[in-house]
């Protein structure tokens, strides 16, 4: 030991410091850990894929001279008024309640500036959100908080939420300290209670009922609105095909890395499949029905960069959705606030207590004083900037692959760095022609 000091200490892989801390916390508090954010464990992801740029057999497009379009139309199957987006990146559903009103406004402002849509959440539609979002998707969730036919008709699309990637099979959760007067009123709940949303819809169960439910929503809105069905990625192949059968215009598949405002840690880390296999399975399910590109596919869960966008599109998505990354773009986990994060027992780069309502950045809070720190105009500009960068990055990669539209990216443009990613994305391991599982067990 002499001379080696702490270098001689060996931390257990099985019982690392984080595991020890959680066991001791559980023993002390007697309740599971509830937190926000998404899965923190490493799972195969888009980082494990690489794009094959142009070569002798394929020629690239000039980066600054030749067009690479990014527009996407959602809801072409049945809706009278499909959603026309300028970029294939949308803002995912996040509730007023989970987020402050100015944060919701900023998401709308940024999305509108870039010609894309934003989405309500488990708490209804706020006037600020509607006013500042040119294209707004209205979620129909099991709780039906704030649900009303007027907002349904004001929406540009309707998203029937069956589940989300962070907690497929779980309901929403908003702890008492975030149930302000306004949130309580919108949700018809007493102030300050721990709100537990249902995990199942109150008036339908199963795919046959879903078809009838979608029919009702279409009748109420005179068949104008595109109807999305959102599922957490689990049995993705069957979910996609059943949602198509039920009459969805658009399928939203949220991988296990998808974020949440509040859920049990054990749920976030241990339920669902990663986004990488989910996108490929969903696209395959649509192709099998000969409805790929006719029923649009939106994929979410861990989209951070233009590379993630390009790879998701190459695997068959029509668009992607961002949630966690949008909050970070607005200032969540900003290192300049490190001291403030430390004052509430966290640190910049680690903050995930979005359920607590103490967010020093004023984003995941209902505290008026904290929320007032957040400037929705500046926040909107940051969202627009971030969306612009994601789009430019995706275009850069698409042009390098010789594509005049980002939707022309295809699985053949991809290789995998790991055997796992190759099997999940169904693309060859780099340097080989091996797609594990493509031919049974070979």
């Amino acid at each position: 030991m002499a001379g080696n000091g702490s270098w001689a200490l060996r931390e257990s892989y099985l019982y690392d410091r984080n595991v020890i801390a959680e066991i001791q916390r559980a023993a002390q508090e007697g309740i599971y850990d509830i937190r926000g954010f998404g899965a923190k464990r490493r799972v195969p992801h888009f980082d494990d894929l690489l794009l094959l740029g142009a070569s002798i057999s394929r020629y690239p497009l000039e980066g600054y001279r030749e067009r690479c379009d990014t527009n996407v139309t959602l809801g072409t199957r049945f809706a009278k008024k499909p959603l026309e987006l300028r970029i294939p990146i949308t803002i995912a559903g996040m509730s007023f309640g989970a987020l402050s009103a100015p944060a919701k406004e900023a998401l709308g402002r940024g999305a509108t500036e870039m010609g894309t849509s934003t989405t309500t959440g488990d708490g209804g539609m706020t006037p600020e959100e509607r006013e500042h979002s040119k294209l707004l998707v209205y979620q129909l969730l099991p709780s039906r908080y704030g649900m009303n036919p007027d907002d349904l008709r004001k929406a540009d699309a309707i998203e029937v939420v069956v589940g989300q990637g962070a907690k497929p099979g779980g309901g929403g959760m908003l702890l008492g300290h975030k149930i302000s007067d306004r949130v309580a009123e919108m949700r018809n709940l007493p102030k300050g209670i721990d709100q537990r949303s249902a995990s199942r819809h109150p008036d339908w169960t199963g795919p046959d009922d879903l078809e009838i439910k979608i029919g009702e929503l279409r009748e109420i809105t005179d068949w104008e609105k595109p109807i999305f069905v959102k599922v957490g990625a689990t049995r993705t192949y069957y979910d996609v095909q059943l949602a198509v059968k039920a009459g969805a215009d658009v399928i939203v598949v949220d991988g296990m890395q998808g974020g949440t405002a509040a859920t049990q840690d054990v749920f976030i880390e241990h339920v669902g499949i990663p986004t990488l296999p989910a996108v490929r399975i969903a696209a395959d399910a649509l192709q099998e029905l000969d409805l790929h590109r006719q029923v649009q596919l939106i994929v979410s869960g861990g989209i951070r960069t233009g590379a993630d966008v390009a790879k998701a599109l190459a695997l068959g998505a029509d668009a992607v959705s961002i949630g966690t990354a949008a909050l970070i773009a607005m200032g969540d986990n900003d290192p300049h606030r490190d001291e403030e994060y430390r004052a509430i027992g966290s640190a910049a780069g680690f903050y995930d207590d979005w359920q607590a309502g103490l967010d020093p950045a004023g984003i995941s809070t209902q505290d008026d004083e904290l929320a007032a720190r957040f400037d929705p105009i500046l926040g909107g500009r940051r969202i627009a900037n971030y969306l612009r960068v994601l789009t430019l990055e995706a275009q850069t990669l698409a042009r390098a692959c010789g594509k005049s539209h980002v939707h022309n990216l295809e699985p053949e443009d991809l290789v995998a760095l790991t055997v796992e990613a190759a099997a999940m994305a169904k693309v060859p391991l780099a340097g080989t022609d091996w797609i594990p599982g493509a031919n049974g067990h070979e």
């Binding site: 007697g30 039906r144 300050g192 008036d203």
Partner: protein, 238 residues
């Protein structure tokens, strides 16, 4: 349209055996926006889903026959009378107006309703008033299990019996049952039935046009409010 007729009384008649549901609902919606007949009669519904869904006008709609799911869904202002049975999700998310069923209703009648009045003159099945948010529901007969599950606000009045797990995880809704309750759900308890509650029951019965039931015969149930904030000591109740 050739398939429709205006009765001598001024009632607009729509025959769903020959008129597509889409045409019917579009006409009802247009009537709300642009004015039109104040009284409609729908014949041959034959179990169609979403009949008269999304109405938003002070019109009266009589449906002669059985309807499928989500009849009068998200209703505002209108009065819809079903002279038959109604399937799942009758008047789901009703905002205002009245939906009256002269027959039985299937699961989730009045689910998530935020206002207005739903009356079932027969029995209502499971989950009647699930997640209700302000609606008043009156059932002349019995209700099935898990009725008023997660009921937030509003009133459910049952003249007959209630099935198991009544009011499970209830919030602030008020439940009145005249007959027996199979069992009470988590955090639902019997509460004192005071004079103001008798008055409330009397008013609900009068609104529903039920005059052969005594308001004094009911018992009141509501939330014990013990599960409003998570406590590990209550874990077995969840």
């Amino acid at each position: 349209m050739a398939t429709e007729a205006r009765e001598a009384t001024g009632v607009e008649v729509v025959d769903l055996a020959v008129t597509p549901l889409r045409d019917l609902n579009q006409r009802l919606h247009d009537a709300a926006r642009e004015g039109g007949p104040a009284h409609w009669r729908i014949v041959n519904p034959n179990g169609a889903h979403a009949v008269a869904a999304g109405l938003d006008a002070q019109i009266e709609v009589d449906v002669d026959g059985h309807v499928g799911y989500y009849c009068a869904g998200m209703n505002k202002l209108a009065t819809v009378r079903v002279h038959g049975n109604a399937s799942t999700g009758l008047a789901e998310n009703i905002m205002s107006g009245r939906v009256l069923v002269h027959g039985n209703a299937s699961q989730s009648a009045g689910a998530t309703g935020r206002g207005g009045l739903v009356v079932v003159y027969g029995d209502a099945s499971a989950r009647c008033g699930i997640s209700m948010k302000g609606v008043d529901i009156v059932v002349r007969g019995n209700v099935g299990h898990l009725s008023a599950f997660m009921a937030q606000t509003g009133r459910l009045l049952v003249c007959g019996h209630a099935g198991d797990a009544l009011g499970d995880s209830i919030y602030e809704a008020r439940l009145y049952v005249r007959g027996e309750v199979g069992s009470l759900g988590a955090d639902c308890v019997e509460k004192e039935f005071r004079e103001e509650h008798v008055d409330e029951v009397r008013t609900l019965l009068a609104d529903a046009g039920i005059d052969d039931v005594h308001p004094e015969d009911f018992r009141r149930y509501g939330s014990a409010r013990k599960l409003y904030n998570f406590s590990i000591d209550n874990a077995s109740a969840y």
